[in-house]
């Protein structure tokens, strides 16, 4: 295990690993939920926590260069005096690193309108598996050639190590309004989500919490969430004042039409922050309910939200488990959270079976395996659910083009047998 302090040290570590024919795994803050940073096959573990300097902030072009170990929230704090922020805001933002965010293409509540990490990363300095240093993308638009920056983002450490990152900084919007709507059924809340999107509003954030999680959060934070609601929606609208005011009115109208009991508009920043504190403490709050949880992450088309949520509750009931839902409803990104007590004998198989069934239900509804946590090892063997052998072979080609040695974070993302040469079934017309 090593803790490099510079790009050169990262490159040296990678070369030493190569000399000894060892794989290497890069680790940011270790908050990843798909096991991407879990060492497999006795690798050298390269931990980026020492490379945590903000290198440069350009308020005119709105770009910051950071080292990968900079924590997500620290960057937003550093640029706040300039009226800027870094838009992707994972719930783990006080702990996760920007390098980890790049590697997982992280999202957050505020990625609905502004896009996930990939839309905010302009340039990368990376150390490749052979120890060489490459610059991908750039501050000049449309870097010549293939979009290697775009491919590297979300590659979960399998294409190399990001050692410096240029991110776009977003101007703070002149007007922001945050609303809390509460419903007596999950269906009504989900219908309101569809209604809001269909009416042409793209909120900055559109989050949903079901009854169990709302109560847990309320007990924990005391944000004034209705403890008897079946579901609440947290909606944030931002932009220029007239547009925001019109959108607030429209969200209120859609919400009430779909049966919202109350619509609370945060009166000031303090109230706004309190509502968000409730949302962002969800994972901490469940510790009061059960000691363990398994958080899932999948995306379905927004129009299928209600039916998939139903299925999620059904699956939990079938396995005699408690499931809670707190998620990015606006983009259909579900986060079913199975809470349990790992000391209960025989519980793990049920937790796993439920997770498996939930994932399949999402895929059956036209969804995908992950919206923001990535594939890692957790979902690696589910990849054939959405990709056929030819699709996986193409992905393997891309990975191998970055790392022909296969030493960068092996056995992650792509299941064994992805390369057509190693497949049991060789697709017709494939070269061997």
């Amino acid at each position: 295990m090593c803790f490099p302090r510079s790009t050169e040290e990262v490159a040296a570590a990678v070369r030493i690993a190569a000399l000894h024919d060892r794989a290497f795994v890069v680790r940011g803050s270790g908050t990843g939920l798909a096991g991407g940073a879990t060492p497999l096959a006795d690798p050298l573990v390269i931990v980026m926590t020492q490379m945590n300097r903000i290198l440069d902030i350009d308020p005119v072009e709105q770009v910051a260069w950071v080292e990968p170990g900079v924590l997500n929230l620290d960057l937003s704090r550093a640029v706040a005096p300039l009226g800027l922020h870094y838009a992707p805001d994972p719930s783990s933002q006080h702990a996760c690193s920007i390098g980890g965010n790049v590697a997982t293409n992280a999202g957050g509540p505020h990625c609905l309108a502004s896009g996930v990490t990939s839309a905010h990363v302009r340039a990368l300095e990376v150390v490749l598996a052979d120890g060489s240093i490459a610059d991908l993308g750039g501050l000049i638009p449309d870097a010549p050639g293939y979009d290697l920056r775009g491919v590297f983002v979300g590659s979960e450490g399998t294409m190399g190590i990001a050692t410096a990152i240029a991110v776009h900084l977003t101007s703070n919007p002149p007007a922001v309004r945050t609303l809390l709507l509460d419903f007596t059924s999950v269906e009504a809340a989900a219908a309101a989500v569809s209604g809001i999107i269909a009416s042409g509003i793209l909120p900055a954030a559109l989050e949903m919490m079901d009854a169990q999680i709302t109560r847990a959060v309320e007990d924990f934070v005391g944000a004034g969430f209705p403890r008897d609601a079946a579901a609440v929606l947290l909606v944030e609208l931002d932009g220029l004042p007239a547009g925001v005011a019109a959108d607030v009115a429209a969200v209120e109208r859609v919400g009430l039409a779909e049966g919202a009991r109350t619509v609370r508009v945060a009166a000031d920043d303090t109230e706004r922050e309190l509502l968000w504190k409730g949302r962002k403490s969800a994972f901490g709050a469940i510790a009061r309910i059960a000691p363990d949880y398994y958080l899932h992450d999948a995306v379905v088309p927004r129009s299928r939200l209600v039916e998939v949520l139903h299925r999620v509750y059904e699956i939990a009931a079938e396995q005699r488990l408690t499931v809670m839902n707190v998620f990015h409803a606006g983009d259909g990104n579900l986060h079913p959270l199975i809470v349990f007590d790992a000391r209960e004998p025989g519980i793990w198989p049920r937790v796993h079976d439920a997770g498996d069934a939930i994932l399949r239900a999402c895929v059956d509804a036209g969804g995908v395996l992950s919206g923001e946590h990535g594939i890692g090892i957790e979902k690696r063997d589910f990849m054939p659910l959405i990709f056929n052998p030819d699709d996986l072979d193409a992905q393997a080609k891309v990975r191998d083009s970055f790392d022909p040695s296969g030493r960068a974070n092996p056995d992650k993302v792509l299941p064994a047998g992805s390369r057509c040469g190693e497949a049991q079934r060789i697709p017709e017309g494939a070269w061997i």
Partner: protein, 341 residues
Amino acid sequence: MDLTDALQSLAETVAAATGPVVGVGSRTQFDAGNPVPTDAIAIAAPCGIVGFEPTDLTVTLGAGTTCAELDAVLAEAGQEVALDPADPAATVGGVLAVGISGRRRLRNGPVRDAVLEVRFATADGRVVKGGGPTVKNVSGYDLPRLLVGSFGTLGLLGQVTLRARARPARTQWGARSGAPGAVLASLVQPSAVLWGGTITTVLLEGHPDDVDRELRAGGLECVSGPAPFPQGPHRGRISVRPSAIEDLGPVLDATGCRWLAEAGVGTVHVAADSPDALAAARAAACSAGGWLLREAGAPELDGFGIELPNVAIMRRLKDAFDPEGKLAPGRLPLISATASR
């Protein structure tokens, strides 16, 4: 409409060809990224809307569909994808292969951010899917971004899923004389800020009152439309740091080129009457730290005018996807290497 069979036969056509093949749309930007050999077989992608679910704000279509047709379909539901090609007859596949972002990029981001899923035909006749149909997705590597701007050298785009959005309540162009920097700084969310040397033209979109407010803040007068894209037989697209644009403008004037810059983005569209003038524009771009991609004419202006970075990775990508060099030989980015095959 289901294009499964059409995609399959697209792939079979590619596989069956014994010589070079190239994807073709409406030929509005067919020479961008270099002309292909005259004996290349031109293959068109299937067209038509495969699926449009307004409440999902996503649309799936054959890559051969024209931007005009796509826009007409989305408009019925009050939505759009801001592709904005200079010529609306351009096909969606063509826009994506060339990787040209519309003039509203300042607000909407580059065109690759709008692409959620691609299905493309490989050189050996397979149909490969990359990405996924949902608005958010990190399942596997981002093949859609790789394909956008690849000039058809890795595969032929057959079907794509794009992210749509609501059309703005009001769209208004405004103009003011002078350089764009001050205008840009005075506005909150312009969709485009275009500068042609004397006048800055701005596109504002949103709630009517906000548009008025922005017009006032920028000291802008309403105008009916933007300055037209520069026309001429020899054309190119410059990329520089956004902050370099104001200094680059006068230098471009001296080359005799006509040009229109996207302020805040760093793209400058250039047109010239002679290859030499376009070459001078490229030299100006390079000394400003950028490059120029030739889009039409000026056959000797190959490449970007600067050395291609990360050639080794790009070479491996090309060799992995097209080992025989069959797809769009001569096209960027790996011209010299491919041409020698």
